[in-house]
Amino acid sequence: MVEVTLWGSLSAVAGGKAKHDIEAKDIRELFRKLAEQYPGIEPWIDRGIAVAIDGTIYRDTWSKELPKDAEIFLLPRLAGG
């Protein structure tokens, strides 16, 4: 079980809650379970969500494991110049 924090706008489509306890071993499973629980999140995942694990931002490595005690924060998937 990991605790996941959603940024403000995303929490609005996840029952208005910022913090969620999810049983997920990696980013892929985390997204799948969030989408099962809150279908409104799916379009956001399609558009892109980045996952910060202990401060390091992962945008595409969906196989990245989620350590049990890690701080996991979802962020918009941004692009640069």
């Binding site: 924090t5 940024w7 403000g8 706008s9 609005a12 558009r47 910060a52 202990d54 401060g55 390091t56 931002i57 992962y58 945008r59 595409d60 490595t61 196989s63 990245k64 701080e71 924060f73 962020l75 918009p76 941004l78 692009a79 640069g80 110049g81």
Partner: protein
């Protein structure tokens, strides 16, 4: 990905040196081939007809007269680019931006295009195309567009991100919010509060090379595109989707690039050139004029930002809040969102809240510009930080040091930071001789901090060892800032050979697997990771070949300083085999030797910079001259320090232009008034002092060498540093960028009149 990206703390032989750039001779002799330098036999000239109206319904387009003109081979409108986007809203916007479908949404929006035997005929044909417009009310100002009574640009836009869907459409596409704590409680604890509103005008990246491409579509569905771009694989994906081509049959080759800075991450003319070629059955060359680049490519947002920061007497910030409104052009974007995330990222804050609003306006579609959205937010925040330090009677640097984020700080955008460099950049600035240099009359000094995320992404690299022992490195990230030199250094480092033995090229889309574009300061970060991986794969083969030659187990062969060495006393008589020896024998030991890598380079480390700026302002004319400028920035590890310094200087130079002069000026008719370098003034060499640099190296734990991106952060602090310097010089807080002479004179006059 079977690759360990963790920082190893190794000692370097090649990385960190400053060899001659591999593209230097071609560029100084004029042999380098840019987008417009490619030609094909039988190619036609493409030209685009653009709307003169900021907002208008396209009632009818009659192309019949143009089609009959001798020498015209194809005329296209939106009908020739049917909607194949299958509900993908972002792609539909790209399609509509490439060629207006129902409405022209800004001055310069493409409405039709021709391909003809020469430029004169093409221009003549454009004049013969008759477009029947119904002109609509328009809005170009970000604050006016956000008002409920503003002309609606898209009546299907209902603001996202609100608790309830609004009853009426508006020009605000999205609201986003970030932060933590309780700002109301934080402000209640403050002894001093500063609150101000700021504006920044829209600017262009100002790359010298206009967008240019040659497109050739064959009847069998194969196609080629030669183009100036920051991401040829992304251009392939987008063009293939928009044209209904199979991606693998569209080969895209990137040219040398005469500047991009985010502006060449987006297709505009390329789908049009391909559609023209498809219709004409001949190659089509399409080169934007400077006028078109300004009117119809992708400048950055204009912004309107409110900032409020409170602090205790001891200098501790108790709360910080910002509301940011960013223009997106006529299509939805996430520009204010990025501003809201980066605004307070430099600071350790208990209570922070930022709210961003994305605003549609009748201007060109906003595109990325070097650390997109961050410089404007930093301008507003760092101006208030400076003012608050004055209110507190604290030194501006000390105030920032006291409140700087550090490892373990919860960032204003959410996650907790790992090892970061804001504190060290501030300490370096505090101790820099620049801060102690005396100033003369009418001169002022300012400093400011800046933050940028940096990104990685999908990356694919091939490393091939020739039979003479030289190495060719094929990468898929376009070289926008010296990455071919840096990646050659990395390959040399891993293989243990000299830099001169490595030649890096940017391969076309048919020669490598997919690569994300070079954006987010990712070129050297990502492709160096893939190069290290590819080199290690090649070394594995080199060891196997040496083992085969010696007829010993491969486990007994190690790779050191460019040689295979048989490990252990029992092999005492075996002389090491060099990479050259093994390569020469490769034909008889198993064939070519190569290393390949495909990976997702994630974990790019965030970076910080602090800048110092001295200016002199002429109180009679309002003209400002930057007389000294210093950049201090964390690079993680500078692979080729000269290029890193160049990135620091380039970001500062662009920031100076943005801060003092550059501005999109629209008339009441919604038309751009200054689409050229005479009236849109970017700084030239004589406008700039020597920009001093100091590289700090706080290793990124998620890269084997500690590399962080360096290309973007350097443009984040300049607007604020220069605004603080000008404000200190004239004694009036400047709140509107650019601080052009008329704006400075107006501020001085307003101050005199009280």
């Amino acid at each position: 990905m079977n690759f360990d990206p963790r920082f190893s703390g190794r000692k370097f032989a090649s990385v960190g040196t400053r060899p001659i750039r591999p593209d230097g001779i071609d560029k100084v002799t004029g042999r380098a081939r840019y987008g417009a330098d490619f030609n094909m036999a039988g190619q036609l000239v493409g030209r685009i007809l653009r709307s003169p109206h900021a907002h208008a319904v396209i009632k009818k387009i009659d192309t019949s007269k143009a089609e009959k003109l001798a020498g015209v081979k194809a005329v296209i409108t939106a009908k020739d680019l049917p909607d194949l986007t299958d509900g993908d809203a972002a792609m539909y916007d790209i399609l509509d931006n490439s060629m207006a479908r129902k409405k022209a949404l800004y001055d310069g929006h493409a409405v039709a295009a021709v391909a003809a035997i020469d430029a004169r005929t093409a221009r003549e044909a454009l004049k013969l195309i008759e477009v029947d417009y119904e002109v609509l009310p328009h809005v170009t100002d970000v604050d006016e567009a956000a008002q409920h009574h503003a002309p609606l640009i898209n009546d299907q836009v209902f603001t996202e991100g609100l608790e309830e869907k609004p009853a009426k459409p508006s020009n605000i596409t999205k609201r986003t919010q970030f932060g933590h704590g309780d700002v109301h409680a934080g402000f209640a604890q403050a002894d001093f509060i500063v609150e101000r509103s700021f504006k920044t005008e829209q600017t262009h990246q100002g790359y010298i090379e206009p967008h240019a491409c040659v497109a050739s579509v064959n009847p069998d569905g194969t196609a080629d595109l030669w183009v100036c771009t920051q991401g040829h694989f992304v251009y392939r994906q987008h063009c293939a989707q928009l044209l209904g081509l199979e991606a693998s049959k569209l080969r895209v080759t990137s040219s040398e690039i005469g500047g991009g800075f985010g502006g060449k991450t987006h297709v505009w003319a390329e789908p049009v050139a391909l559609a023209l070629s498809r219709k004409a059955g001949r190659p089509v060359k399409l080169v934007m004029t400077r006028d078109e680049v300004f009117r119809a490519s992708g400048p950055t947002s204009a912004t309107s930002i409110d900032v409020k920061i409170g602090a205790k007497k001891d200098g501790t910030i108790t709360a910080a809040e910002a509301t940011l409104r960013y223009s997106c052009g006529p299509y939805a974007g996430s520009w204010a969102e990025i501003g809201a995330m980066t605004a307070f990222a430099c600071y350790k804050l208990e209570n922070v809240k930022t709210v961003g609003y994305e605003v549609l306006v009748n201007r060109p579609k906003t595109a990325a510009y070097r650390a997109p959205s961050a410089p404007m937010a930093a301008f507003a925040v760092e101006s208030v930080v400076d003012e608050l330090a004055k209110e507190l009677g604290m030194d501006a640097v000390d105030f920032r040091i006291k409140n700087a984020a550090q490892e373990g700080t919860r960032s204003s955008y959410g996650p907790v930071y790992g090892p970061i460099g804001i504190g060290p950049t501030l300490e370096a600035v505090k101790n820099h001789p620049h801060m102690k240099a005396p100033l003369k009359a009418n001169q002022g000094r300012g400093m400011a901090c800046g933050f940028w995320f940096n990104f990685g992404g999908q990356t694919c690299t091939d490393l091939n060892i020739g039979m003479d022992g030289t190495v060719s490195l094929a990468v898929g990230t376009v070289d926008v800032g010296g990455s071919r030199a840096s990646l050659s250094l990395v390959a040399a480092e891993e293989l243990g050979i000299d830099y001169s033995q490595v030649k890096a090229v940017v391969a076309d889309t048919s020669s490598l697997g997919y690569n994300d574009m070079t954006d987010g300061s990712r070129g050297t970060f990502s492709s160096s990771m893939a190069t290290i991986s590819a080199a290690r794969n090649a070394i594995k083969i080199l060891r196997e070949r040496a083992a085969q030659t010696w007829d010993i187990p491969v486990e007994d062969v190690v790779w050191e300083k460019g040689h295979a060495i048989a490990k252990g006393e029992k092999y005492g008589n075996l002389s090491p085999l060099s990479l050259k020896d093994i390569a020469a024998a490769s034909g008889k030991t198993g064939g070519p030797i190569a290393g390949h890598s495909e990976l997702v380079a994630d974990g790019a480390g965030v970076s910080f910079a602090t800048h110092i700026c001295d200016v002199e302002v002429d109180p009679e004319t309002g003209s400002t001259r930057v007389i000294r400028y210093t950049v201090v920035q964390d690079a993680g590890k500078a692979v080729h320090p000269t290029y890193v310094e160049g990135q620091y200087q380039g970001g500062a130079a662009q920031g100076i232009g943005w801060a003092l002069n550059e501005e999109y000026i629209y008339g009441k008719d919604g038309r751009l008034q200054n689409p050229g370098f005479l009236d849109y003034r970017i700084p030239v060499c004589s406008d700039l002092p020597m920009i001093d640099t100091q590289i700090l190296e706080i290793p990124n734990p998620n890269h084997p060498y500690g590399v962080r991106g360096v290309g973007e952060t350097s443009i984040v602090p300049p607007l604020a540093a220069i605004a603080n310097a000008v404000s200190n010089a004239v004694g009036v807080r400047m709140t509107h960028i650019p601080m052009s002479p008329p704006r400075i004179l107006a501020a001085l006059e307003a101050e005199r009149e009280g």
